[in-house]
Amino acid sequence: MIEQRFKCPNCGQIASFYGNPGEHLVVTCSACHLKGRLTIPLAEQDNGHAIEVSHLKKVYGDLIAVDDISFSVKNGEIFAFLGPNGAGKTTTVEMIESIRQPTAGSIQLLGKDIKKQFTDVKEKIGILPQEFHSFERLTVRETLVYFSNLYKKKADVDTIIQSLDLTSHKNMLYRNLSGGLKQRVGVAISLVNDPEIIFLDEPTTGLDPKARREVWSVIAGLRKKGKTVFLTTHYMEEAEFLADHIAVIFKGKIIAEGTLEDLIRNYGKSSIMHIKKCVNAPEVIEMLKQEGYDEVSSEGNGDIAIKIDYKERVLDILSHLKHDCIEYESLDIRRSNLEEVFLRLTGSKLTEDTA
């Protein structure tokens, strides 16, 4: 939490407000009760980057696990490092966390070179290692208090418990928790020092869909608090749901990077509109072709697929269908996704067997 002093534009009263870098606050002047919005400035970083990785490399004998990668993560964003198992995600994140020694390259966290200043950085980062299991015979609350006591800067443990919806489980032993709760506790542990950057290494691996959604909502909540999140995952839907920025890693190299929209636009297929069980499908296809839709095809059974290059064309097609009183059972538009992006980039699916 950092302090931001603010002068009321109405009465001139000066007051201090506290929040995380990048956090938006609604504040009230204690003198004239004027309400206003205030944004806590991004602290300490001068270029807006929480993480900067340059020419990072890790070699084990003949194996190049991470091959000369460079990227940066902006303050306050969720950055997803997406790739199949064995692509080099954990090796990379563990080098950034100073758990592994890079063969070459440099890493800066919050503007500090971790080779020389990692001890200074420790207070400002929170980490959930891959496949993390905490002390089995401590309760949830004790676990958080334990890790919290390791830091000088401490967030309020009970607030964390509340915000991660762990209140009803706080007195349960860690070993008795379900997989989803254990991962939530893992995320909670990474927050005990109110860190600026949170590293979550495969936080939902092995969880059922419901537990996965629960963890996602926790991670999404971190963005609202202005935290920078570095997330490694091999679930494309996780990256799609959570990430502001995605880097796709494959065989130790970053093969694509950008926002979800960027990646789909640059590497995905266009969207496809499907018209199901259309009456007079051959005539409709012919009509659409005459209207300039080159990629229209019959999928049999009266189903039609039309490639949509840009969104205005959707309204155009709908108006044609309405105008010619064409009957059909249903209609949907399927957007290209990361799976297709990955397939196109690597020639293989983003599944476990890709590793």
Binding site: E97, I99, I127, E131, F132, R137, L138, E142, Y146, F147
Partner: protein, 369 residues
């Protein structure tokens, strides 16, 4: 060094341990059960032959006859000690467990007894009270030989008796031998397995990686864990000692030196656990490896049975086992009050502790390759 962090980790270790039924059982209940069981049911389990030293100061027909009778039982490996040797010094010097001295005038007194009803001669039987089985066997054999001889000499009274002289001032029995061994063994088990858990399970669970990214240093963590190990060792020692005193009426000496040995033992076996965890990274395999090392050590190092009862080559092996020196150091200080002997063994324990603990700390690491 942040002492608050060390203390906090120590307190949380106790909490976690208190909640572990297995941990409680192996650290407290198991040694208590063993002490009670062994103390109550111990019966002689010995080798078929016992080593017995005999000094014939009389050198007469009758003394030779007594010697031959002893030999005739075929229970003993009899070693003859020269008549002019000082028995007490010889026992001390050669670490002799059992010695029978036939006194000068043995035959003469027996002959006199035929006319003088008050004549009586006593054999001297020097014995090591910790060697309970051996002592018991020798005692009963001598007793039956003398009973026969006395019966032949006089129907109504004892002419040849036995004066028992302990090589140590007090009278000891098996539980005296066993109690310090049990303390050493329990500390060893706790330290080795605790250390292995921290170096294999915590690594697998990502706890070590997590700690590496927090402000706690490895030194603080290791010190906190050693503090916990010493707490466990103190608890174990106190519990076993109290049982010894209350149930078996023992006299146990707890001194600063005993505490030093116990601390050194905790460091020694924690270091050994670190080394096992360093080279055998899978938790289950490391546990098996620990068992494979600690169990034979327990038997070979004279924890339950005196080394005397083991074949010679096993006795040689015992002398390279750290637990042997722990047992000897504790036993001599706590029970036999032989502080010189305890000091020599204790120094070996401290050297072992330094070597194992320092190599354990240096060879294990939190960082991944």
């Amino acid at each position: 060094m942040n002492l608050k962090i060390i203390w906090m980790d120590f307190i949380y270790s106790i909490k976690a341990w208190y909640r572990s039924k297995g941990g409680m059982f192996w650290s407290l209940a198991f040694p208590v059960i063993l002490i009670l069981l062994f103390g109550a049911i111990f019966s002689g389990i010995g080798s078929s032959k016992y080593t017995l030293y005999v000094q014939d100061k009389d050198q007469t027909e009758m003394s030779r006859m007594f010697n031959e009778t002893l030999n005739g039982t075929k229970l003993f490996n009899i070693n003859i000690v020269k008549a002019d040797v000082n028995a007490t010094a010889f026992i001390k010097e050669k670490n002799i467990k059992s010695l029978i001295v036939i006194p000068e005038g043995f035959q003469q007194t027996i002959q006199e007894s035929l006319t003088n009803p008050s004549s009586r001669v006593d054999l001297q039987f020097y014995f090591d009270p910790s060697e309970q089985t051996t002592t018991q066997v020798i005692r009963s054999v001598i007793s039956s030989i003398l009973q026969e001889m006395n019966k032949n000499l006089s129907k109504s009274r004892t002419i040849i008796g036995v004066q028992e002289i302990s090589t140590i001032t007090e009278n000891f029995n098996f539980i005296d031998f066993f109690l310090p061994g049990m303390i050493g063994f329990t500390i060893m088990q706790g330290a080795i397995y605790g250390s292995i858990e921290r170096n294999t399970k915590y690594r697998k669970d990502g706890i070590l990686r997590k700690l590496l990214t927090t402000p706690i240093t490895r030194t603080e963590w290791i010190l906190a864990k050693m503090l916990f190990m010493m707490f466990l060792a103190a608890l174990t020692t106190a519990l076993i000692t109290i049982i010894g005193i209350l149930v078996f009426g023992m006299t146990v000496n707890i001194s600063a030196w005993v505490i030093i040995i116990i601390i050194a033992t905790s460091f020694l076996f924690s270091g050994m656990g670190m080394l096992i965890g360093r080279f055998v990274k899978e938790e289950e395999t490391a546990d098996t490896a620990a068992g494979a090392i600690s169990f034979p050590m327990m038997f070979l190092a004279g924890t339950f049975f005196p080394l005397e009862q083991m074949p010679g080559f096993l006795q040689t092996i015992a002398h390279v086992l750290p637990l042997y020196y722990v047992n000897e150091a504790l036993r001599n200080s706590m029970i036999y009050l032989n502080q010189n002997e305890s000091f020599l063994n204790g120094v070996v324990v401290i050297i072992f502790a330094a070597v194992f603990f320092i190599s354990g700390v240096l060879l294990t690491k939190w960082k991944e390759d």
